[in-house]
């Protein structure tokens, strides 16, 4: 039996309101270390909003969130980078910088942490090998397919060795083969010890993977 105190991510009665509209309603949830968790539900259920709250892309309206014992309600904008370095974030629209090469996009994470050039070279090469993109280091994102861009985004998410991976519809804009490749990468990352949260409405994706499933509907946790 896992205890609440051991949870890596804890949500207590979390609300997110946009005016009179409740995007999230009284969400309480524990996510434990090395868990693979799916946040499932139709579009507009509040999956992305929940992930945004976790990476401080949005602020809480009510309730509390703890990530690795950091209380997000008390994290000042100055300390936001400290929290985000615990996370690796993957977006449906990849969010790669189009004017930077594949290598530069990934290296940025480590540059922001003041790592040495030698370390960055070694680490970026290693993650590019894991995602199978080692031969595209000098390519620019617009020249890559959707699947390849998402592989680069996965590489960027894991290069800083985060404790938690947050993936918002990571296969949403990919074909079946690319989606499978990305899912396998996430399983691989999970196997290396990371906690993975995947927000998706893709039932096939959920059924093809062993992991806890949390259902959201109209901002409420239903299962």
């Amino acid at each position: 039996m896992k205890r609440h105190e051991d949870a890596l991510i804890r949500l207590f009665h979390v609300y997110k309101r946009y005016g009179a509209y409740n995007a999230l309603f009284d969400i309480s949830l524990d996510v434990f270390k090395n868990e693979f968790l799916f946040l499932a539900g139709p579009s507009g259920a509040g999956k992305s909003t929940l992930l945004k709250l976790l990476y401080l892309g949005e602020t809480l309206s009510e309730g509390q969130i703890l990530i690795d014992r950091m209380n997000l309600a008390r994290v000042s904008p100055k300390r936001a980078p400290e929290l985000r370095r615990k996370l690796g974030i993957i977006f449906q629209d990849f969010k790669l910088i189009p004017t930077k090469t594949v290598y530069e996009n990934i290296a940025l994470v480590l540059e922001a942490r003041g790592m040495s050039r030698k370390f960055i070279q070694k680490k970026v090469s290693s993650v590019l090998r894991i995602v199978g993109m080692e031969d595209r280091t000098r390519s620019f994102p617009p020249g890559l397919s959707g699947g390849e861009q998402q592989k680069v985004a996965v590489a960027r998410a894991v290069v800083g060795d985060p404790k938690i991976i947050l993936a918002d519809e990571p296969t949403g804009s990919l074909d079946a083969d690319s989606a499978e490749a990305i899912l396998n990468l996430l399983i691989n990352i999970h196997a290396r010890g990371a906690t993975v949260l995947v927000a998706t409405h893709d039932k096939e994706l959920i059924h093809s993977t062993k992991g806890r499933v949390i259902q959201l509907k109209e901002g409420r946790l239903i299962a």
Partner: protein, 293 residues
């Protein structure tokens, strides 16, 4: 890490070449205009200082004054605060000097039956008293003494010239201020445009854990580099213009009257540092607004 920031700043400058060229040109023109005023004041002040060093008062004595009166007067004048020396020039000595100055035309003076020149005290001032206000005060004090016919200080026009320079100074400060504000706006807008063009990149950088310092530093380097470059170009432009104008002067008679000098190294460094500071402030204003969120 420092090298990384410099590389990023240089990359940004090269990626937005047109925008940055316009900014550097504007800064250079502003520096050129403001430093032109500074150069004018610098030379005008030097000229005034030279003229002021020659400030003296001529005290003409009453022809009835005898030797005892002259000794009293000398004592009383030298006692006045601000006076460094009161030299007596007798009417005889004055005539001899005049003859020397007139050279061959001195024969004209030989027809004079009596010496029309009065006895005179040439009063020189201490350096700290070489101002128009001080010489006016001293003149009034000397005029009040007995056996004085009149007091003259031939450089009255220096006072008028100083007033004109002061008007120019005021205009210069006002224009300098206006150009400073205009330059600041232009740098701030350039940085803002670059920030808007990189908005998405900045959002992504924040999401991957970049601190604001990491995001801001290259912009500050960029702003200071643009300011510094504008400053150097502006000063170079001023130097070329100065060289051209002073060459023209040297070939004319005015050269002896106006011995022009270029700004000192400290002032040049000050202008370049000032334009770098404006670049920094421009960045600060834009970044503060942009990264507020």
């Amino acid at each position: 890490m420092k090298l990384f920031f410099f590389k990023k700043a240089l990359q940004d400058i090269l990626n937005n070449r047109f925008l940055n060229t316009v900014t550097v040109t504007t800064i250079a023109l502003s520096v050129l205009i403001v430093s032109s005023f500074a150069l004018f004041f610098y030379n005008a002040n030097e000229l005034l200082d030279t003229w002021k060093k020659g400030i003296r008062a001529l005290v003409y004595l009453d022809p009835a004054a005898d030797d005892a009166n002259r000794l009293d007067l000398k004592y009383n004048i030298q006692k006045l605060a601000g006076v460094s020396e009161a030299r007596f020039i007798s009417r005889k000595e004055a005539m001899a000097q005049m003859k020397v100055q007139m050279g061959r035309q001195a024969s004209l003076l030989e027809g004079l039956e009596t010496n029309p020149l009065p006895d005179v005290f040439e009063v020189r001032l201490k350096p700290e008293s070489q101002t128009m206000a001080e010489i006016e005060r001293l003149s009034r004090a000397i005029e009040a003494l007995p056996h004085i016919d009149k007091v003259e200080y031939g450089q009255q026009w220096i006072g008028k010239f100083t007033s004109i320079i002061n008007v120019f100074k005021f205009v210069g400060y006002a224009m300098g201020g206006l150009f400073l504000v205009a330059t600041l706006f232009i740098v701030a807008n350039t940085v803002r445009l670059v920030l808007y063009s990189r908005q998405e990149e900045i959002v992504i950088m924040r999401l991957v854990g970049a601190t604001d310092r990491f995001i801001k530093t290259p912009f500050y380097i960029q702003g200071m580099a643009l300011g510094g470059l504008g400053g150097i170009i502006g000063m170079a432009g001023l130097f070329i213009a100065f060289h051209f104008i002073s060459e023209k002067f040297h070939s004319s008679l005015s050269a002896e009257l106006l011995d022009m000098h270029f700004l000192g190294l400290e002032m040049i460094a000050g202008f370049i540092a000032g334009s770098m500071f404006i670049g920094w402030v421009g960045c600060y204003v834009s970044l503060k607004q942009f990264l507020k969120a």
